[in-house]
């Protein structure tokens, strides 16, 4: 039995459009990413050394120790989202960093894992990641404090 032309046209049309969209990142600069049609630039850039710049949040505890704050303190369960949120605030400057610091402090105040925490700090640090895992855990230079804020009472 002859097949109507439209029966063949739709699959081809959809296929060509979808594959065209998927391959369209090849016509853009390779580092320009999008969703859902990605150029998949993750881990593709030339990384000549293991120097690692990290923006992070820490909490000061009553015993004087410092605790690293996990992604949930930044309102996400995704570590990369947390890193992006910190990086964006730091790039935007003092006011944005202070605002984020206050938001984190408010979450820390409600988090029993950090009970009694007195202050939150946003820090920028640089490490040599390979040296770090070989035992040399000191940052490459003095950490830069981006924001400091008190933890409100729970």
């Amino acid at each position: 039995m002859a097949e109507p032309r439209s029966a063949a046209a739709f699959p081809w049309l959809l296929g060509l459009v979808l594959l065209g969209l998927m391959l369209s990142p090849l016509t853009r600069p390779p580092s320009q990413d999008s969703f859902p049609f990605s150029s998949y630039p993750m881990f593709a850039h030339g990384r000549k050394n293991a120097e690692t710049a990290v923006d992070r949040a820490v909490a000061h505890l009553p015993d004087g120790s410092v605790a690293m704050l996990p992604p949930r303190a930044l309102g996400t369960d995704e570590v990369l989202q947390a890193a992006t949120t910190l990086g964006t605030a730091v790039r935007r400057g003092k006011r944005a960093s202070a605002r984020l610091c206050a938001q984190i402090a408010a979450r820390v105040a409600r988090d029993p894992a950090f009970a009694g925490a007195t202050a939150v700090e946003l820090l920028s640090e640089r490490y040599d990641a390979i040296a770090y895992f070989a035992g040399d855990t000191a940052p490459l230079d003095k950490p830069t404090r981006r924001a400091h804020c008190k933890v409100p009472p729970p």
């Binding site: 594959l19 998927m22 990605s38 990384r47």
Partner: protein, 324 residues
């Protein structure tokens, strides 16, 4: 028409003197069309709908608290369709959209009112995940799932093994036979999988050239990624942290990874090659999980590669096969 049969140009039916000789272009076009639109059993497409639909719905359900949290996250940097927005959505919409997508996902998976819920879920998933990816971080674990749901949503994936099919059977409609309408979506799903891996390989070549595989680049990335996670108090891979002390391991690992991505199109050649490539690609993701603590659930559960196989024969679908 069954797989392998070409639609005939029938001169005898029109009374013309004989068959018109086909040019090589036409023959090639017909061969490509036969490959792209094979007559496959509707159960295979339905099985893919159930697997991909269930995964996407559960994924959304697990992510729902985080999707709600986008209302307070800040740092809105729209991508894809979200660039149409002038700013973040109101809180109520941020909360409502994953719930709507979840409801559509359940209907999609069960094959309920599929002509509407199929495309609707595909669009909802694209939108919800595009919005989630609009806060400065693109999650490359989600692209392939979304593309697969788009294909399935535009196909007749609920002709069998669905609530729609059950209702149609009660009304006396006969079970559908294998047809190209059930074949092309399966082929397109496979093409989409292959394209995604190929693109990832090409991105490495475009951004770093062969240096990507021949230098310390992968080692540096693994060290950097694990340290970043450790300092942000998240899961990292102690194995990866230990391995970065052994530089010689990384060029062969990088070369193998690049090869797996660039050779992805070979998976379309036939089932044997597809099996070998799928195992290699799966192992690649298992390796990424082991040494970078990055979990790609879609390929690790085998779903990325499912369109390359006769998934309807999985033991998982035994009850549905018997009920036919």
């Amino acid at each position: 028409m069954t797989e392998g049969q070409a639609p005939k140009t029938m001169p005898e039916a029109t009374g013309s003197p004989g068959p018109v000789p086909e040019g090589s272009f036409v023959r090639a076009a017909r061969a490509i069309d036969r490959w792209y639109r094979p007559a496959l059993p509707p159960e295979r497409l339905a099985a893919l709908r159930i697997l991909v639909g269930a995964f996407s719905t559960v994924y959304l359900a697990i992510r729902t608290p985080q999707l709600f949290g986008l209302a307070t996250l800040g740092g809105f940097r729209p991508t894809g369709l979200a660039t149409l927005l002038s700013g973040p959505l109101p809180d109520a919409v941020v909360v409502a959209q994953p719930l709507v997508a979840l409801a559509l996902g359940v209907a999609f998976t069960l094959g309920l009112a599929y002509r509407v819920t199929g495309p609707a879920f595909a669009l909802a998933l694209v939108w919800v995940l595009t919005y989630r990816n609009s806060f400065g971080m693109i999650f490359h674990t989600e692209n392939l799932t979304v593309a697969h749901v788009l294909v399935l949503g535009c196909s007749r994936a609920a002709d069998v093994w669905s609530l729609d099919a059950r209702r149609a059977a009660r009304r006396g409609r006969p079970a559908p036979a294998p047809s190209p309408a059930h074949g092309w979506p399966v082929r397109l799903l496979a093409l989409v999988t292959v394209a995604a891996y190929l693109l990832a390989g090409l991105a490495k070549l475009r951004l770093s050239g062969l240096t990507w595989a021949a230098s310390d680049l992968l080692r540096n990335y693994i060290a950097y990624d694990n340290l970043r996670k450790l300092l942000l108090a998240d899961w990292y891979s102690p194995l990866g942290a230990w391995l970065v002390g052994h530089a010689w391991i990384f060029p062969p690992l990088a070369f193998a990874s690049l090869l797996i991505e660039l050779l992805a199109p070979l998976a379309l050649v036939g089932p044997r090659v597809a099996r070998v490539w799928s195992w290699l690609a799966w192992s690649f993701h298992a390796g990424v999980l082991a040494i970078m603590a990055i979990f790609f659930p879609y390929p690790l559960l085998g779903l990325a590669f499912a369109p390359l196989f006769e998934v309807e024969k999985l033991p998982l679908f035994r009850r549905l096969r018997r009920a036919r």
